[in-house]
Symmetry: C2
Subunit: 344 residues, 2 copies
DNA sequence: TTGAAAGCGCTAACAA
DNA sequence: TTGTTAGCGCTTTCAA
């Protein structure tokens, strides 16, 4: 059926195929008239070059890839937009590829690198625990952006940009403590989450300790594993159970803004007010959190910074300037209207 | 540098390259022992076949593609998830590809079809106005899902699944009217939007007319083109201006749920209540809308249905069973707590 | 059950 | 400025 190739175009135009190739690729050494004539025929016949053939032949491309694990995560959605804007500014072409939840990041990266002759890769999200060795097989520079890694065993990975989840979580909880809260519930990752959820829980614990508050496991609530991770529904369900359990608290800290909206709902349904009855805190700094009512106090991740730095780092690595660098950026506490001060 | 190929593996294993190819592709005509031996070497050397070469050589694949225009649209996000789940159930492998806002759907489709030897395509979202001719060049079946098309000039496109935006919007506004509202503001698409925004506005107008309500252009508000389309921020800004303008209304109908959250915020900031002072209605049926406070009354699009039918249609077309069918599905009014009845 | 060889459609020397 | 030609790495006949 379709199958119109460069050869056909060459025949139609009465030229060699390399001339057609030159026309397509705007090669300097081609007669502008010839080019125009060929391009017209190409247009007319709706000829589209086969990328597979192209990629196969080309010894190198100027393409970098952005690989996202967790495309359904709203936080990454936001980053994606920034990436799109920023990547347009550099001299490389780029490709955005989502990795399925069940796929292995490193394998996908490997395949894509071969297929597209990539110059570099930025990994957004995901866990990079089991694939270090495989990743080193890539043979091209890569940057891990917001990839969960346990801080206790520092990565050997060359390049990364992230926040310190433990520390930022500490800041959030410490803020709550300084506001006079002593019974602070946390809604954290799944019970078996040893990445982000664990780190943010660690920060919670340390903040409590530093503020002389006894740790109470009854105030630690885990996401439901049968509901979508970090989702509104999850925050709602967990909070509902928390409130119904009768465990007392004056503040609820959800480790994602979306879950915080679920917290809101559960609190309101219980006939309580925010922040008068319960103070609520989130994490991420999604734009939408400003529009919650009351607007959500949250730890805002430095998305723009992370995006820009990760691209910079990759560029440096491609140019052979940087081999290893771990950038840990600071999140910013956004004080809004969901947290009240408690006066004892 | 990297560049370990099938040839290398063949050499290492002391077999012909076709034997390696057979091992990789689990060809029935290969000695299991040989295969195992080769696979082990492949594993050891981290060999990954080059997809470009593969795609180039193969005369056909069993791949279908899902092309999304507007990956940042939360409504499509939700659909995406359903697609992922449903596509896993069929005997084809699939690939999800996002089309940039500035790219032409048809061109991308054409390229991808050639490159990956696609069997079929599902287009999710976008406008299919200028590319009909190009699309027919594809040479493979395709289904348009939720692709905005003007109902007045029915498409010649073979296969599509969608809702009737005009009609569903009519239902929403009619509901509001039946609840006694006579001053209903609408927040619709950009002023120059002739797709979804226009259709939903048309439905609004017709509902007003059928309910004997005078059309008032002061109640028609357009999205800001300098803010993200259908976004919370947009809904907020527009509502704020609406309220500040002093134009009276008892209900505000936003053509997306996200915008409705912006409406909430603006209403609350003005010191008003929902639904006592303003009734609010949305459109889409995002899961998150249930968690607004009060929970949002909205027109819920039949996402699961649309996904399933679009896949079915494509399968039928690939099997040559269906050549042309336009499915128009019904949306469902979700009555929740954001609309009050007005008693005169 | 295997290997040799012919391309898939393109780019990039190299000649002309 | 152009055409000829040799592969890129793989799958797939066709013989062996």
């Amino acid at each position: 059926m379709s199958a119109i190739t460069i050869k056909d175009i060459a025949k139609i135009c009465n030229v060699g195929i390399s001339t057609v190739s030159r026309a397509i690729n705007d090669d300097p050494g081609i007669n502008k008239n010839t080019q125009e004539r060929i391009l017209k025929v190409i247009e007319e016949y709706h000829y589209v070059p086969n990328n597979s053939a192209r990629n196969l032949k080309m010894t190198e491309s100027n393409t970098i890839a952005l690989l996202i694990k967790g495309i359904d995560n709203q936080f990454f959605q936001g980053m994606l937009k920034i990436y799109e804007a920023e990547l347009k500014k550099i001299e490389y072409s780029f490709l955005i590829h989502a990795i399925g939840e069940d796929q292995d990041d490193a394998s996908v990266a490997l395949e894509l690198t071969k297929e597209k002759r990539l110059k570099g890769i930025i990994f957004l999200g995901g866990l990079m625990r089991y694939s270090k060795e495989k990743l080193s097989m890539l043979g091209i520079p890569y940057v891990l952006c917001t990839v969960a890694v346990n801080m206790e065993q520092p990565r050997h990975n060359s390049l990364s940009v992230s926040i310190n989840d433990e520390k930022e979580s500490y800041k959030a909880v410490d803020y709550l403590c300084k506001k006079g809260h002593r019974k602070i519930a946390i809604i954290t990752g799944k019970q078996n989450d040893y990445a982000v959820g664990k780190l943010r829980l660690d920060g919670y614990k340390r903040a409590l300790q530093d503020n002389g508050i006894q740790y109470d496991s009854g105030l630690v609530r885990y996401m439901k594993s049968d509901l979508a991770e970090y989702s509104v529904a999850n925050g709602y369900q967990v909070t509902k159970e928390l409130i119904e359990s009768g465990v007392e608290c004056t503040a609820i800290y959800a480790i994602s803004d979306l879950m915080a909206l679920g917290v809101y709902k559960a609190v309101f349904e219980a006939g309580k007010r925010i922040p008068e009855d319960y103070s609520v805190m989130g994490f991420d700094g999604l734009e939408v959190a400003k529009y919650f009512h009351p607007s959500l106090t949250t730890m805002e991740q430095p998305c723009s910074q992370m995006v820009k730095h990760s691209i910079e780092l990759l560029m440096e690595a491609i140019n052979g300037e940087t081999e290893e660098k771990q950038m840990i950026l600071d999140a910013a506490l956004q004080e809004r209207d969901s947290v009240a001060e408690i006066v004892n």
